[in-house]
């Protein structure tokens, strides 16, 4: 090996360490603070005494509901928009530029703005109040641009040669989308879903305004419910002596993200993946 190559290898390690070190430190700090209260009971019990005792079961439930509402709206609507963009809008056309600008603006909007709007529109105007429904819907607005953009990229990445073959065989538009386009874009679309889940799970500001922070188990999507991220914020900032439980909840949240990530990746593993042309 050339000496310069060896130096390059060493230098290449530095950015890698810069990425991995903070992650390790963060997880280690959380573990150190939170492992004392982390147990199976912590996951299965509802919180009591404003969260100072008990576990996070009701919060897991609320988080799951909020996420479900968010994805139930964001995935189909996002996919529909992405299909429209990739199938109907010519890249570089005026429509493409205008829609792209709108999407980029939406993507760059601070989440607190979505929170305010969500509160005004869903909670007040539509009368949904502080509820899981308001929270999930406001979150779906926030993740929509992310979902649309990644799905659009995935759809546009499907080779043109497949499209030409389908055209020459006079295959219907729907047949093309269902049998060739969507299966081939599935892994890219899944990345969009994963990113959306990540943002939705991490979001606090939007939910403070819309889903509220009631600790008890929600009976329906019309009840208020506290998400994990809101709980972490509340325990750390508002509840004296809540740091331990905030750290433990954060660990659960990270574990949840990893789990969902792996699950979605597994779901979209296609029989013919790996052979890319």
């Amino acid at each position: 090996m050339h000496r310069s190559d060896r130096w390059a290898a060493v230098l290449g390690l530095i950015p890698w360490l810069l990425v991995v070190a903070p992650l390790t430190m963060m997880l280690a700090a959380l573990w150190q603070q939170g492992q004392g209260v982390l147990s199976l009971a912590f996951l299965l019990e509802d919180p009591s005494r404003a969260g100072r005792a008990g576990g996070i079961a009701s919060l897991l439930l609320s988080t799951g509901w909020i996420l479900a509402v968010c994805l139930a709206v964001a995935v189909p609507v996002g996919l529909g928009c992405a299909l429209f963009l990739s199938e109907e809008v010519r890249p570089g056309s005026a429509t493409d530029r205008r829609l792209g600008f709108a999407l980029d603006l939406l993507a760059a909007t601070p989440s607190v703005v979505f929170g305010l709007f969500g509160y005004q529109f869903f909670a007040i105007t539509l009368g949904l109040g502080f509820s899981i429904l308001s929270g999930g819907l406001a979150l779906s607005l926030m993740v929509l641009p992310l979902m649309i953009r990644s799905a659009e990229q995935a759809l546009r990445g499907v080779p043109l040669s497949y499209r030409r073959a389908a055209e020459a065989l006079a295959v219907s538009r729907w047949g093309w989308v269902r049998r060739v386009l969507l299966p081939n874009a599935a892994s890219g679309i899944a990345v969009g879903v994963i990113l959306s889940v990540g943002r939705a799970l991490a979001e606090t500001a939007v939910l403070l305004f819309t889903a509220g922070y009631v600790l008890r188990r929600p009976d329906s999507v019309f009840d208020s419910g506290r998400a994990l991220s809101v709980h972490i914020y509340d325990m750390a900032m508002n509840v004296p002596g809540g740091t331990e439980r905030a750290a433990a909840t954060a660990l659960v949240l990270v574990a949840l993200l990893v789990l969902i990530n792996l699950l979605i990746r597994r779901l979209v593993r296609r029989p013919f993946s790996g052979v890319v042309r």
């Binding site: 497949y162 030409r164 065989l169 006079a170 060739v180 013919f272």
Partner: protein
Amino acid sequence: MNILPEAAASPPSLTLEGVSVRYGERVAIQGANLSVASGELMALVGPSGCGKTSLLSAINRMADGLPGCRVSGSVHLDHQDAGALDRASLRRQVGMVFQQPNPFPLSVIDNLRFPLSEHGVPRRQRDALAERALRDVGLWDEVKDRLAQSALSLSGGQQQRLCIARTLVLAPRVLLLDEPCSALDPVSSRVVEELIGSLKGRYTLLMVTHNLAQARRLADTVTVCWVDGECGCVVESNTCEQVFQAPAHPITAAYCGGEVG
């Protein structure tokens, strides 16, 4: 039109009159006339950029989908005006094979079932028709034990034969072939070339090729295209022997003699 018609006794002749293809301001090919007799194979030769592929895509109206593309002139299958047919039934009659093998990323068998199901062929008939198409292209014995495997796991030559089978399974009567062998290795190219030769008589074929030796081996008639200034045009259309041995046009003589192009 639910059940595939058995191919009619003789395939139609293909006649182009004054066909021009424009992309915006640019003229790809101007006023092309040619005529392929029933069951014959015409080779379309000429240098790159002389509009051969544009001419092919004008026939099955693939050009319609391209932004800014305009096609004029007339295309007839026997006496039927192709412009009067709707796009789906035109493409069902006029199949197309591309330069790069482009099987769908589905299993081998689904590559054939998919177009059949799209054209309303009942499920119970699909596998028999698929098998017949695979036998037609000499692929059946090679793939009969791996029908459920990805078509992308086949070799390049097998993929191209699968693409031809995928076209044949819809029982077209005319085939447009856009340099079907040029992306293949010499051995696969030979196999595909023999396959195309065997299709003569049952289908009317129009094949773009850069390989003059191949045109000479396969074609009944040859059309030479050339670039005249900015746009492509047909300079000569004649029987294979005539074009190679007694060319009528000096450009044909120079091109087929290997002096230019």
